[in-house]
Symmetry: C3
Subunit: 327 residues, 3 copies
């Protein structure tokens, strides 16, 4: 398919600067531009590339002032990132989509599968599992018995939903397993990355609420609950029974202790270790144990000087002792 | 199935306070209680729920004093957590269990499989693998050639036993692979979570001893050894040839350098980085590099004040210089 | 197969000290030596074992001076570690290798598979995927549509190549998915461990260059690029669009922010958090945020004394106030 700059601008409500008839038939990153491609400029770090890109058309924010002439055609928009997202969605919606239950999938006879569901080869859907309309289950996903998957849910390859929570009671000879008889509930519009694990509850349910987005290799332990529209980057880990609020953002490799509550709209930096309840909505935290980011980064800067501080402290002590003597 | 409070109390050696004929047919968390359910109260944080739970029966420790009347029937026991574990085990033992080798599993002809083993669809059991009686292998588990799995072992979905250890020798053009010709031995009564990896040894064996419990997404590198009844939370990582003692507890996301020895009964906090041998049994460690938890948490508290300390140090220096001058 | 010490020495250019006719038929670690086995001594920590090993033959560096007599036969070589690697390679090259596409694998009709490729049971090879000659794809690997795998690539069990990058744009009601229409390119001679994830690019490609070695459970986000011959230990995480140079070494559980550039030959310690571009080739970094290792370890040593420093600072303040008064 081929479109002109004018056609694209009309689709996304933009304004053309340059050749309205410039033709594009593919996407490219601005730094890897080529003739016939459309690129976008959103992150200011990439601004220098606009002067040398070979892409035919570039989406750019209305308010960006360019200091040199450019050879590409520009489409001015309010938010270049949103516009490219919209274009990619249009593009993706025109691509053929896989649907249906692949004959190489395992789907228990007692599972209830909605309409327009895709279940890939080697996906495993256990007994009494329900999967809502429009959901897509990729290869090597395991959904253990009894778990409930909502509508328009995407689960990428290798993720495991509903394995036993990690519960053992010590006795004299070793540990006895505490049976995990609960389930996992994944609500509508959730997307789960690859090789992520969401454990079933000891009793009751582990719940991933509507619109949550989990990246790859994340651990969600038994009895956890993640609030609506919270997003978590890769390799995050939640210990048991922790509840995360709605609209939170969690950076990669962050970890949460068990049995704590994180308020709505909390922002947790990458590699943080959160060990207690947060105070209220909108808080930001980073570090392990996690603290206010302003303090964290200031303290990190001073940390480098700690050995010098230690020496200076000893020097001051000595000088004070001198002063006392000579007083 | 339905039981009365009296029947349950008799099963676990408890004493009924309230209606001995109260009927229960399911389990529920105390904060999600409902008529006909039995709950338990073990963590004091949850005590307030006992006054409002709708569960018909609640297991509670003998020594807990309640300050208000409750509408549920109580069963007083020595240890509510152990009692609920016992009840869950009784319940689980009455549930039908999957057994046998699923026709959709791949089991090499040279593998030796014990009695009462369950091998799920899409499990892969390589050449010359042995699996002991009563073990359960869930979907998408891979067991590479030659690995030995003991009795009553559970391996959850997606875990990989016996992939090559990470061994490469640099040369001028790149890295040459060091073949990994050893195996993995998993002893009896081990439980391994989902998407965990235990690498085969370069030569000899990587060993997970009897009764070890590993959570999800854990990395155990080549030539490691984990002692009896040690438990590790999710996302822990062990570098090559490290030996962990028996009865240790390791918190989530902790990491261990290679070629170190951890003594028995060591307690390693979440997100710790352990880079050297530990001193002796019963030690506690946290932080990266890992140190005594008392020092760690005191230092963490002071760290927040580091920028102020830095300023104060400069102020003191100035004042001392003044004092010297005016002396 | 059985070889004499003399035959082995001739293969690897070594010199026999002891019985040239000593027979060996297997490998063993020096601390687990047995009659008929060949071991090696490379790490000086293991030197004491050479006096008590039961192995028949031990490979040892030319320059190691032994202080007591040994009962085993020695083969003196320049580099014992390289020599044992060479022997293991010889041994491995004599073992039968699995080849061909297993009938239990799923390979799309539009995929292009090279010569001498092994594709294991339950591997999933999507549409328009290409796999170069001599590559080996283990069980439960998923390669999404359109990804390109080079020659002599090894991908261990459960790894996922080409799942969607983690891209979502927030709106009033939740997040909209940004379609990920790019691909993953894995160049020749790459080895990828078990349960590792390499996400496809939003547009363009995520690239793992020639000779890279990735361990288990690693996360490589969309649009990343990893330079030639870089090695990464288990559980490392890269956020989106980050570029790692060639010949870097990255320790386990380290994390990288998005959109940063790491120069060639950079050495990143385990559990580091790298949040900005590095300065130049050959730099070493550790900690979170990552700094010079010398400063890091000095500061870590002082950190333990922080509570004492805090008290000392208050004491000095008090004494100075006293001095001022009495001046």
């Amino acid at each position: 398919m081929e479109f002109t700059a004018k056609q694209i601008a009309d689709m996304i409500g933009g304004r053309v600067e340059g050749d309205e008839q410039a033709k594009i038939n593919t996407f490219a990153k601005i730094e890897e531009g080529k003739k016939g491609a459309i690129s976008f400029l959103s992150n200011p770090k990439y601004t220098p590339y606009i002067y040398e890109t070979e892409s035919s058309v570039v989406l750019i924010n209305e308010d960006v002032e360019l200091t040199q002439p450019v050879s590409c055609t520009l489409i001015r928009v309010k938010n270049a990132y949103e516009s490219v997202a919209k274009l990619l969605q249009l593009y993706a919606s025109m691509m053929p989509k896989k649907t249906g239950i692949d004959p190489l999938a395992f789907v228990s006879k007692s599972a209830k599968i909605g309409e327009n569901v895709y279940i890939a080869p080697f996906a495993y859907i256990g007994d009494n599992v329900t999967i809502g309309d429009g959901s897509r289950i990729f290869p090597h996903v395991t959904i253990y018995d009894g778990c409930k998957i909502g509508k328009n849910v995407t689960i990428h390859a290798g993720s495991v939903i509903g394995a036993d929570g990690f519960g053992f009671a010590p006795n004299q000879e070793g540990y006895e397993k505490i049976p995990q008889i609960g389930i996992v509930i994944i609500e509508d519009d959730v997307e789960i990355g690859a090789n992520t694990c969401v454990d079933r509850s000891t009793m009751g349910q582990t719940v991933i609420h509507k619109g949550v987005k989990l990246d790859n290799l994340i651990q969600v332990a038994h009895n956890c609950e993640i609030g609506e529209n919270t997003v978590m980057s890769a390799q995050v880990g939640l210990a048991g029974s922790t509840k995360i609020g709605a609209w939170c953002m969690v950076g990669g490799q962050a970890g949460f202790s068990g049995h704590i509550h994180i308020a709505d709209k909390t922002f947790i930096g990458a590699q943080s270790g959160v060990i207690s309840n947060t105070k209220g909505n909108g808080e930001q935290l980073i570090g392990s144990p996690a603290i206010d980011p302003k303090i964290f980064f200031k303290a990190a800067a001073v940390t480098k000087r700690l050995p010098d501080m230690y020496k200076e402290l000893a020097a001051l002590r000595k000088e004070i002792e001198e002063l006392k003597k000579t007083k």
